[in-house]
Symmetry: C2
Subunit: 99 residues, 2 copies
Amino acid sequence: MNKNCEKYENELYDLAELFKIFGDSTRIKMLFVLCESEVCVANLAEALDMTQSAISHQLKILKQSKLVKTRREGKSIIYSIADDHVRSIIKIGMEHIEE
Amino acid sequence: MNKNCEKYENELYDLAELFKIFGDSTRIKMLFVLCESEVCVANLAEALDMTQSAISHQLKILKQSKLVKTRREGKSIIYSIADDHVRSIIKIGMEHIEE
DNA sequence: TTAACATATGAGCATTTGTTCATATGTTTG
DNA sequence: CAAACATATGAACAAATGCTCATATGTTAA
């Protein structure tokens, strides 16, 4: 029997971890908004109609996963998509949905 | 503020649901194995070193999500990838990982 | 038809996850 | 410096999730 999933055990684990990040409504909405333009925490919260705290907790997860990056601008922290793979993943997922 | 995530509310919800399926070690391993060849339940269980029951429960989820399809062959049920989007999604995820 | 095999499924349980609430940290302005 | 603003974080709790165990359903061969 095929045992490649043992061989690729670690890669597949990481892959699952990656998709897990995208597998939550709140996070995918956040990423979707960020795909269009960089946004500060408060504006993200407003866009999704959620509390600043909830958004902040999720941003932490997105940042730890290196899907977003930050920079400070005055009192605000501006979040943006870390690399184009995020857009690719969302795009290809959307293509699957739309059928 | 950008409210496109309201506009695309439903699509983004479905997208999250899709990625949620990929966001589990067991399921991604199953899909990975199935990407290479169609397999019956018992062989999948063996390949992943898991119980038949656990695999069967997950296969149900994969089937409900239309990521896999089945056909009967004697006493066995043979599972296979339902469409090539599954391979694309795994592939693009892998590309992101390997960096 | 009955025994053996292959898969499916429901209930129960432990773990994980996402939100809220309260509060801490950090920055700018007066 | 103090007050106001923006974000981060820890604890607690409810909901969702994945596995196990027992058993049901369905198929084939004797």
